[in-house]
Each structure stands twice: as structure tokens, then as C-alpha cells.
């Protein structure tokens, strides 16, 4: 059912020079997203997931050194000049963030911002842009869109601001939406509304979505496939159901055992011992090795992402012999 990929990321690496040495923020990331597909990228702080998201729009900080390819319909965005990228952003690829005020300007009304984006990319007139913006505010579920069009961001509730930002990201009907923790700051009933909206957009318009989150529950509810990131690497890449039910990487399994859920007492939650390694001082072999219950000497060699089964990729040399618990084992 998955057609030609819209986005193909090949061997993406992002590094920074720091006084302490070279920080390897992202190493050798490869993945694809097809039109209409929703892919989750899950990992803890410092795993490199937000930088991966920014790289898809050419928005990495200037100090970042990037290698690899980010192909959108075959065109490498990493080799595209900034002037041309500006036409790509918003029109082809859009991004939404955790905090809508990073994207919304407090001194302009919501309507001005959405219609300005539309006019800049599509060169339509003021009246047409306004009509389109009001339609869109209604489509993302903002009540009384004509009134909200004239309001400033601070006049909206958190959930409505998030919707306004989504409306702005969608105004030019991008083919790829990068959503970085889009619901983390929202209440759970509002989160459900926003996730439903994102899912509906990808279904109705064929928008491809990369959903970056620390919350495996959000991935489970929203995404077809999931990429698990650890210390700058994709350690597992497979369907969401496979990751949840039969994780093949000890880190994915560890995350599932740590999630507090009804029916699991606090004393039975399993934490992952140790800490995420520093990006300037990564273990030479498996980056998760020092924290892994299943560590063996051969884990000290560099680990490749290998295909364990069709569509199922794991960066662990022991994946075939380990029988790791998934979400079902956790809930008994």
C-alpha cells in the first residue's frame, strides 16, 4: 500500500564542533515517508530527533555540519541554496512546534499571519487570502473563525493557538508536515483533538507526517510506523504495532517497561540504569551497550541497522536471539 516515498533521508549525519570535541548529534540516519503516511520519531532528550526534524527544512543552526541527503521528490534539500529553500518551506514542507508562540508573531493578528504566508507563496490578492485563511481556521476546528481571524495570538487559548499554528503550517497545503512535540504542552483532551486533526489531514489530503515525540502513547495513537532514536542513531525502524508488541531492540523494550500505566504499580516500573552518553564521548560500539542488560563483548563493535524481517530494521547484533518483552507483557 505504500507508494513511492515522498521523503527519503539517506545517511544523514549532523555534528557540531564544541570545545570538548566533535558532538555527534545525529549519525547515519536513513528513513522514508510516503504520501499520506504518518511516521513517528521517538526518543528521549538529546537523542537527535528535533535536529533531524529541523534538517528536513534546512533550518539547522549555522554551526551544524551536515552530511548525507534529504531527498524530497528526489531533490536534495541539503544541497539546495537558501533562496530556493525559502520557496520550499511552507509550500512543500511545513513545521509545527511544541510552543506555538515560537511560530506566531505576537504583534500581528492570527489572520494577518496566515494570509501573509498564503500571499507570499501563492501570489493571490488580499481578499482571496483572507477568505482562504478564514476557511482554514474553521477547518482546523477553531470556532467563530471570522472573529478569530482578527484576534492576536495572546487572545487565544493554548489549544486554539496550536490550531492556529497548524492552520498557518497548512495554508499552502504542504506535502510534508514535520510536527515536533506538537501536543506536549497541551491538556490531554485538547491533545486528542490536535492528534485527530493531524491524522485527518494526512488521510484527507495525503500529507506525509513526521511526528517527533517523547511519548510512545502518542505514536501508538497516531502513526503507522515508528523510528526509535537513541544517542543520535535510529536503533529500530518498523511498524508501530511491531515496535509495541515485539520490540527487537533492548532500548525500545526498555522504554515500554518504563512507561507508567494503569494496572502497573510504581514499584514494578523498570527504569533504564545509567545515563545517555555525551555526544562528544560516545561508546565505540553499541551506543546503548553500557546501559543494556544483554550486553556482550561483540556489542562493543559498531552496530549496523539491519533488516531482521521484511520492513523491520534493528541496530542490535543480538536481535535474533533475544526475546524482549513488549507492551503486552507489561500490562500482564
Amino acid at each position: 500500500m505504500i507508494g513511492e516515498p515522498l521523503l527519503e533521508v539517506r545517511d544523514l549525519s549532523i555534528t557540531f564542533r564544541t570545545p570538548a570535541g566533535v558532538a555527534q548529534a545525529v549519525t547515519g540516519s536513513s528513513f522514508t515517508i510516503a504520501p499520506g503516511e504518518r511516521v513517528g520519531m521517538v526518543g528521549e532528550s538529546g537523542s537527535g530527533k528535533s535536529l533531524t526534524g529541523l534538517s528536513l527544512l534546512g533550518l539547522l543552526p549555522p554551526a551544524a555540519e551536515v552530511s548525507g541527503e534529504v531527498l524530497l521528490d528526489g531533490r536534495n534539500l541539503l544541497a539546495t541554496p537558501e533562496r530556493e529553500l525559502r520557496a520550499v518551506r511552507g509550500r512543500e514542507v511545513s513545521m509545527i512546534f511544541q510552543e506555538p508562540m515560537t511560530a506566531l508573531d505576537p504583534v500581528f493578528t492570527v489572520g494577518q499571519q496566515i494570509s501573509a504566508t498564503f500571499r507570499a507563496h501563492r501570489g493571490v490578492g488580499r481578499a482571496e487570502a483572507k477568505r482562504r485563511a478564514i476557511d482554514l481556521l474553521g477547518e482546523v476546528g477553531i470556532p467563530e473563525p471570522a472573529r478569530r481571524f482578527r484576534e492576536y495570538p495572546h487572545q487565544l487559548s493554548g489549544g486554539m493557538r496550536q490550531r492556529a499554528m497548524i492552520a498557518m503550517a497548512l495554508v499552502c497545503e504542504p506535502r510534508l508536515l514535520v510536527a515536533d512535540e506538537p501536543t506536549t504542552a497541551l491538556d490531554v483532551t485538547i491533545q486528542a483533538q490536535v492528534l485527530e486533526l493531524i491524522a485527518q489531514l494526512s488521510r484527507d489530503r495525503g500529507t506525509a507526517v513526521l511526528l517527533i515525540t517523547h511519548d510512545l502513547g502518542v505514536v501508538a495513537e497516531t502513526c503507522d510506523r515508528v523510528l526509535t532514536m537513541y544517542a543520535g542513531q535510529i536503533v529500530e525502524r518498523c511498524s508501530t504495532d511491531d515496535a509495541l508488541e515485539f520490540p527487537r531492540h533492548p532500548y525500545t523494550s526498555g522504554l515500554l517497561a518504563a512507561i507508567p500505566r494503569p494496572g502497573v504499580a510504581a514499584e514494578d516500573l523498570r527504569s533504564i540504569p545509567g545515563r545517555v552518553p555525551s555526544p562528544v564521548d560516545l561508546p565505540p560500539g553499541c551506543r546503548f551497550g553500557p546501559r543494556c542488560d544483554h550486553h556482550q563483548p561483540r556489542c562493543d563493535e559498531a552496530q549496523e541497522l539491519t533488516e531482521a524481517a521484511p520492513g523491520r530494521w534493528v541496530r542490535c547484533c543480538r536481535h535474533a536471539e533475544l526475546d524482549l518483552p513488549g507492551a503486552v507483557e507489561m500490562i500482564g
Binding site: V188, T189, A192, L255, P262, A266
Partner: protein, 359 residues
């Protein structure tokens, strides 16, 4: 604040030194707590932050409070800890800790009671002074209480660090040298060093990565097992609250709408808001176990400045009827002690989460 019959019964129990057999005496007793703020600015509007909340916590028990922004759950914790004594805030109702009416104590008297009740917050940075070492931060409250004895204090700090799994060398570090999880451990060590009977935990794991979260929750559970400490545990995260709590209270727009054992609330909710909350909470399970239709609530939580008449939830409730607009539903016990504030609780058949085990 009126003195209720509860105080009399506590005094009786104290005099005879026997607990009533049916109801074990509560460690914390909150009766009819209401909190109102006046906003700044020209409107001088009144915010109804908390309205008529009554809860009890037994020694060694965890009561979880769950709710969204504006539900008043954090305000309850602040009122209990007597942090809300100011000009623009009006607190009514009674708050007793182990029979002592905290709301009637002077600031000086309260200071003498402080060690019995401690508070841990979401942001571990806020609670630690950046200029002090970890050791000094742990020492400070002990010194204020006069629990110092020269060089023995160093040993106390070392022991406190050990209880939260931190090495003695950590005592010399400053907060910025620690990870978020380590800082939260220091806060817990600092609170627990005073051997409190009750700890108020306000979103204590919300800012932490999931593997660190599990660590901190393990730690709090261990303290409860070993020291019989009671928790008032506040979080917006259902999974977190359910994993630590014996009982759960659900708050909406300043009121308690449901209180029951964790299993009652999660499996057989009786309030439509609880049902929606359970349904909205994302579950990290494969799709075959998620065969349910999600309830997506319309609109936002109403403003506590201008709450709806009658039931606060009626504007978003799919079961609302005319009566819900006219009358505030009281929190009423069902046959199994499961409390709910809904006119139609006995008629509705609400769905919960199918969870195995549980507390």
C-alpha cells in the same frame, strides 16, 4: 472558617487514644476547601480556583489528584501546604494534619509543623538554590529545625543522599552540575530527611524523560513502603497517577467530580469527564488492544472566572440535560463508596480502561 463536628471527633479519639474502628483516622483532612483569587488589572475579576473540596488521606496512603489546566489540583496542594496566605487570595474551609488545624496556626506555629509535611515540585531547579551545594541545600531545613549537632550533620546529609541512591561526593556539587533526574533526587532527599508524614508531590516527574520518571516513581514507592509516608500526588498524567495511587480524585474546573479507588476510577468511571479523560489519554499498546472509539471533547475548558451554571462540565458533556444547567450536582457516594458528582451517574453506563491487576 467554622469548626465542624470532625474536630470534636478527632479530639475524642485523641483523648481516648483509640481510633474509630470503622474509619481509620485520617492523617490529612480537608473539609470544604474553597480558594478564590482576585486578578490584577482593571477587571479585578474573581477566579474560582477551588470550590468545596473535601478529601482525606490516611497514614501511608497515596491519593492522586488528576485534572487538566485550571482544574485546581495544584491550588489544592498549595492550600494544604499553607502557601496561599496572601491578600489577593481567599481560602475557606478547614485543613487538619494529624488533628492539628493548619489553617488556624500562626506563621510561627506553622514553622514548627513544617517538617511533618513537605512539598516537591515539577521543576527541580526552582526548589534548589543555585549558589548552594547539594549538601547545604539538604542541611538548610534541618538547621532551621534545630536538628543539628556539629559534624554529625555531614553524616545526616550522607545518609539522606544514600536513601535516594546518590553518592556522598554529590554533597559538594551545585545544582547546575546535576542532571534533571539527579536534581529531583536531591529534592526528594531534602524533603525526606525531615521524616515527614505527608509529602505533597506536584507534577514531580512531568519534566523528566520516561526512563528517569520510572526511577523517581520507584523511589517514592520505596519510601512509602519503608517509612509509611502518605502522598498527595498531583499529575496531569493518568498513567503516572494510576501507578502510584491507592485512590484517585478527578478534578474539573475547581471541583472534585469523582473519587474512588484507582481501580474503580480507571475501570469503572462514573463521571462523564473521567470517561473522556481515560479515553483521550494515549495508550502505548498495539492497535489490536486499542479497539475503542475515542471520545473527542469539543471546545476548551471554560474559564474559572466565569464558570458555567450548574455542572461545570455540562458545556462539553455529551450526556448533558436541562437539569445539569440548573443544579450543581453534589459529590455523592455510591454503594461501594465510589463518589461522583453527576446527576445521572446511576443511569449512565460509562466505559473505562480494561486493565489487569492494578492497585
Amino acid at each position: 472558617m467554622e469548626s465542624s463536628s470532625i474536630d470534636v471527633s478527632i479530639a475524642d479519639a485523641e483523648a481516648t487514644r483509640i481510633d474509630p474502628p470503622a474509619a481509620r483516622r485520617a492523617l490529612l483532612q480537608v473539609e470544604d476547601l474553597s480558594v478564590r483569587f482576585r486578578t490584577r488589572g482593571p477587571s479585578r475579576a474573581v477566579v474560582h480556583a477551588v470550590t468545596d473540596v473535601s478529601v482525606e488521606i490516611a497514614p501511608g496512603e497515596t491519593l492522586g489528584l488528576i485534572g487538566e489546566s485550571g482544574s485546581g489540583k495544584s491550588t489544592v496542594a498549595r492550600a494544604v501546604s499553607q502557601l496561599l496566605r496572601g491578600q489577593r487570595v481567599q481560602v475557606t474551609g478547614s485543613i487538619s494534619l494529624d488533628g492539628v488545624r493548619l489553617d488556624q496556626l500562626s506563621k510561627r506555629e506553622l514553622r514548627a509543623q513544617r517538617h511533618r509535611m513537605q512539598m516537591i515540585f515539577q521543576d527541580p531547579n526552582d526548589a534548589l538554590d543555585p549558589r548552594m551545594t547539594v549538601g547545604q541545600s539538604i542541611e538548610e531545613p534541618l538547621r532551621i529545625l534545630g536538628r543539628t549537632g556539629g559534624d554529625q550533620l555531614g553524616a545526616t546529609v550522607e545518609r539522606a543522599l544514600d536513601t535516594v541512591g546518590l553518592a556522598p561526593a554529590m554533597a559538594a556539587r551545585r545544582p547546575h552540575e546535576l542532571s534533571g533526574g539527579q536534581r529531583q533526587r536531591v529534592n526528594i532527599a531534602r524533603a525526606m530527611a525531615l521524616e515527614p508524614q505527608l509529602v505533597l508531590c506536584d507534577e514531580v516527574v512531568s519534566a523528566l524523560d520516561v526512563s528517569i520518571q520510572a526511577d523517581i516513581l520507584n523511589l517514592l514507592a520505596a519510601f512509602q513502603r519503608e517509612r509509611h509516608v502518605a502522598y498527595l500526588f498531583i499529575s496531569h498524567d493518568l498513567g503516572v497517577v494510576a501507578s502510584v495511587s491507592h485512590r484517585i480524585g478527578v478534578m474539573y474546573l475547581g471541583r472534585l467530580v469523582e473519587v474512588g479507588t484507582t481501580s474503580q476510577v480507571v475501570r469503572t468511571p462514573r463521571h462523564p469527564y473521567t470517561e473522556a479523560l481515560l479515553s483521550a489519554e494515549p495508550e502505548a499498546v498495539p492497535s489490536r488492544l486499542r479497539a475503542r472509539t475515542r471520545i473527542i471533547l469539543d471546545g476548551d475548558i471554560p474559564s474559572p472566572i466565569d464558570p458555567p451554571s450548574g455542572c461545570g462540565f455540562r458545556t462539553r458533556c455529551r450526556y448533558a440535560q436541562d437539569r445539569c444547567e440548573a443544579e450543581v450536582p453534589p459529590l455523592t457516594p455510591g454503594p461501594d463508596g465510589h463518589l461522583v458528582a453527576c446527576h445521572f451517574a446511576d443511569e449512565l453506563h460509562l466505559s473505562g480502561r480494561a486493565v489487569p491487576g492494578g492497585r
